[in-house]
Each structure stands twice: as structure tokens, then as C-alpha cells.
């Protein structure tokens, strides 16, 4: 059988992100996928030489348009560790709450995109209807819809008052009930299951050896979640990583559905234990030292490496994003799949190319 190369992306109706794959196909079977990335490289890491370490929080937040808050949080945590800043507990709890809201809206966005990739347009619209309710809470508490802008070195910029907290918890009940309705369709419907069950199976060993992170890793049965490191307020909250053992596209979808309810539970726990006090400390001086910070984004573990030499600009800044870690697994599952399954498989790792290329 003659081999043909079919280009997939960088602009593709299913994918919102510019990843390009050269698919080597034999008949309708994909034999090999060759990725090429670099379409939206912005040189953000180099900007540490131009912007001072406090201004750089804004740039760190803009590395990604979906998990922006956790990028800013990871950066601030790294600088705070280098500078030994005593961040108030209330700031840690508020960061946890906003981080989980960020996970909620990211997973709901992914569910919508997945429904769209399956051709299930009405489910796509319902997923985004629920996401809009989450975005309204985020906008009212932080001032932004996806770029929160509330995290700063030394704490947070805004507080959530008791009245606003009560309103949020009430709205959260409605959101949870809406999410139950839509996740039921994702997990039970025949048309969804037909497209996802047994498609793109990644065994536990393969997922671990290829260095997968986040829901892609947990769907293969590895119970690893960076929130277990106990950063921010996670060391005081009770949760278990959501895992599945099948390792197929359906398992990856089920993990994300499970994480929606886990995030709602974590937000409730954080509000119940929210301590009083300040939300930020005064920051003086410049950082001097080196630190590696790891946090759990909606897509998986993100690693920040910061090196400072006592001046107002950092010396070195490097990010390892979850999509970069999940790309080898994507190439593995694409080998031998049907051409029609490629969009679904690419979406199951929840690719965020703007993060990856920075």
C-alpha cells in the first residue's frame, strides 16, 4: 500500500490551537505522525531581561489564555520561595479557590471542544453555557474573565467578602447540578462512547515512561497530581486524585469529568476554612537565588525554573508546560489509529500550544 502524507493543522476546524502534524497514512490508517511546532513562539522567557520581577507576573499570566491564573500563581510562588516571603494564609486560600475555578472553566471548555470534535453540537453549546456561569463568578471576583490579574508577588490583589462567598457557594450548587446533567451525557451516551471507548489506548507503563502528566497520566492509572505536594492551601484540604485504568479517550474524558466535581468540592472546603487576615505582604528588595516550582494545571504538571542574581530583573526563566510533556504520548497513540479519530485523539491530551511555544 502506497503511503501518503496528509497535513493536519496548523489551522484546523477542530483545533483552536496551531499545532501542525504530518500524518503518514496507509489507506485510512495513520502509520506515523510528525509534529512541527513553533508557529506562535513569542519569546516570553527572554522578556525577563526587560521587565522587572514584579511586572513579569503579568507576562507569566499571559503565557496561556486558559490556565493563566495558575501560571501567575506558579511564578509568584517561585519568587516568594526565593525571597522567603511570609505569604498570608488567606492569600493561599484565595489562590486555591481561583485556581480551582480556573480548572473548572478549562475542563468545561475542553468538554465543549470535545463534543464539537465528535460532531455533538448541542452538547458543545450546553458545556459552554455552564462554563459561562463559572466565568461570571471569575469576572465578579477577579475583574477578568480568563486573565484574572489578581495574583502578585507577596499575595493577592483582591479579597472575597463573606456576602460574595455566600453568593458564590449558592451559584456553585446550580453549576454542579448543570455539570451533572452534561457529564451524564459524556459518560453514558452511546454516540459519545462509540467515538471514544477503546480509541487511543495508553497503558500505565507507556504513560509513565513517555512522561505524561495530568489527566492523560491519571487516565492510565497513575495516581499522580501535583496538588498532593501541598502548595497554596492544598496541604490543608482533603482530596484524592481522580484516576481511571483504561487509558483510552473515554478514560481521559471521565477523569476530566471527575475533576470538575473534585474542584467544586475543593472550592467548598476552601471557603469553609478560609482564614481571616491580610491578603498580601509588602515586598521589598530583589530576589537572589534559584528555585523550581511545580503546580498542577488543568492540563497537568507545570514546572517553572527561576534564577535570580539580586537585581530587579531575573537572570533566567524557563517553563516546562504540560502539553510539551504530553506530546510524545500523543504521537504514540496516533500510530495505528484511523484517520477519522485523529481530531479526537489530539484533543484528548487537551493541547495548549500557546503555552508550549511561549
Amino acid at each position: 500500500m502506497a503511503r501518503t502524507i496528509i497535513p493536519f493543522g496548523p489551522q484546523h476546524p477542530v483545533l483552536p490551537e496551531p499545532v501542525h502534524l504530518d500524518l503518514v497514512v496507509e489507506d485510512e490508517k495513520v502509520v506515523e505522525a510528525r509534529p512541527s511546532i513553533g508557529f506562535i513562539h513569542r519569546g516570553l522567557e527572554k522578556l525577563v531581561e526587560k521587565k522587572d520581577y514584579q511586572e513579569f507576573t503579568y507576562i507569566a499570566e499571559r503565557i496561556c489564555g486558559i490556565c493563566s491564573f495558575i501560571h501567575g500563581q506558579t511564578y509568584c510562588q517561585a519568587v516568594e520561595t526565593i525571597m522567603n516571603l511570609p505569604v498570608p494564609p488567606r492569600a493561599h486560600y484565595l489562590r486555591t479557590i481561583w485556581g480551582e475555578f480556573s480548572r473548572l472553566h478549562s475542563h468545561l471548555l475542553w468538554l465543549g471542544l470535545m463534543a464539537d470534535a465528535l460532531g455533538f453540537e448541542s452538547l458543545f453549546m450546553h458545556s459552554w453555557r455552564v462554563r459561562e456561569r463559572v466565568l461570571k463568578i471569575i469576572e465578579a471576583t477577579t475583574g477578568g474573565r480568563v486573565i484574572f490579574g489578581t495574583c502578585k508577588v507577596g499575595g493577592v490583589r483582591r479579597d472575597i467578602g463573606p456576602e460574595a462567598a455566600a453568593d458564590i457557594l449558592k451559584e456553585l450548587d446550580g453549576i454542579e447540578s448543570d455539570m451533572r446533567e452534561i457529564t451524564r451525557v459524556f459518560l453514558k451516551d452511546r454516540s459519545v462512547k462509540d467515538r471514544m471507548c477503546g480509541v487511543g489506548v495508553l497503558t500505565k507503563e507507556e504513560a509513565y515512561e513517555l512522561g505524561c502528566v495530568g489527566p492523560t497520566l491519571r487516565a492510565s492509572g497513575v495516581s499522580q497530581d501535583m496538588r498532593q505536594l501541598g502548595y497554596a492551601a492544598f496541604h490543608e484540604l482533603r482530596f484524592e486524585p481522580v484516576t481511571r485504568t483504561d487509558g483510552d479517550s473515554y478514560a481521559r474524558c471521565a477523569v476530566r469529568c471527575g475533576e470538575l466535581f473534585q474542584s467544586v468540592d475543593l472550592i467548598r472546603q476552601a471557603f469553609a476554612r478560609l482564614p481571616g487576615g491580610d491578603i498580601a505582604v509588602k515586598v521589598t528588595g530583589n530576589p537572589n537565588g534559584e528555585h523550581i516550582a511545580r503546580t498542577e494545571q488543568p492540563r497537568g504538571e507545570v514546572v517553572y525554573h527561576l534564577k535570580a542574581n539580586g537585581t530587579k530583573n531575573l537572570q533566567r526563566f524557563r517553563v516546562r508546560t504540560p502539553t510539551f510533556a504530553n506530546l510524545p504520548a500523543l504521537l504514540k497513540v496516533l500510530q495505528g489509529c484511523e484517520l477519522a479519530d485523529v481530531p479526537v485523539l489530539v484533543l484528548t491530551i487537551d493541547p495548549c500550544i500557546s503555552c508550549t511555544e511561549r
Binding site: 450546553h126 469576572e139 477578568g144 490579574g149 490583589r157 446533567e181 452534561i182 451524564r184
Partner: protein
């Protein structure tokens, strides 16, 4: 395995009011607390230049001698850094997104 699992949800929403609005015929109501357009109060400003120094994008320009303050709306990212640093509380962020910038000129006050 379920069949027609979306039917209940589809029927419920077929009989309910849509969640979407008929924008731009129905204007979007700004969410209270949203970070929108930067507003400047000329009367209380002492032209100390702190806002321009703190602005991470360099969107603000202060002319101390001429007692004038300017903003490049296309550069402003509505972060609120200047609002926090203003000693006279002359700056504030309105929840409304304001008018669209149509020129690259700075807006002088």
C-alpha cells in the same frame, strides 16, 4: 450504554428562555467588579508620575511641567497597577469596557 441522553436537557431548554442575548441590539450589562476602562480624575491629580513608572506596559505618560496626563488605550491592559499606586486616588477602573480605541494617539487630559 444510554440512548437519547440529551433529550431531557434539550426539551428543558427548548421551553426555556435563551441564555444568550441579542447583542448588539441588547447591550451587555457590565459585571460589577470587572476591570474595564481606566478613568482619570483631573481635579485630584498632583502629576507625581508614580502611575507612569509603575505601569507594566508603559501606557501612561505624565507631563509634570504642563500638568497633563495621557493614556495609550491600545497599550493599557487594565491590570489596575496604577490604581493601586496612585497616592491621590485619581485613577479608577470602571466595570464598563468603554469605547473602542480607533486611533493610535494618546488620549490627553
Amino acid at each position: 450504554m444510554g440512548y437519547f441522553t440529551l433529550t431531557r436537557l434539550a426539551l428543558k431548554w427548548a421551553l426555556s428562555k435563551p441564555v444568550t442575548t441579542r447583542y448588539p441590539f441588547e447591550p451587555r450589562q457590565p459585571v460589577p467588579g470587572s476591570r474595564g476602562e481606566l478613568a482619570f480624575t483631573k481635579e485630584s491629580c498632583v502629576y507625581c508620575n508614580i502611575c507612569a513608572k509603575k505601569c507594566p506596559t508603559g501606557a501612561l505618560v505624565v507631563n509634570r511641567a504642563g500638568k497633563r496626563w495621557a493614556i495609550d488605550r491600545l497599550l493599557c491592559i487594565q491590570c489596575g497597577c496604577c490604581v493601586e499606586s496612585c497616592p491621590k486616588k485619581s485613577l479608577s477602573l470602571t466595570p464598563s469596557h468603554g469605547t473602542i480605541a480607533i486611533t493610535k494617539d494618546r488620549e490627553w487630559f
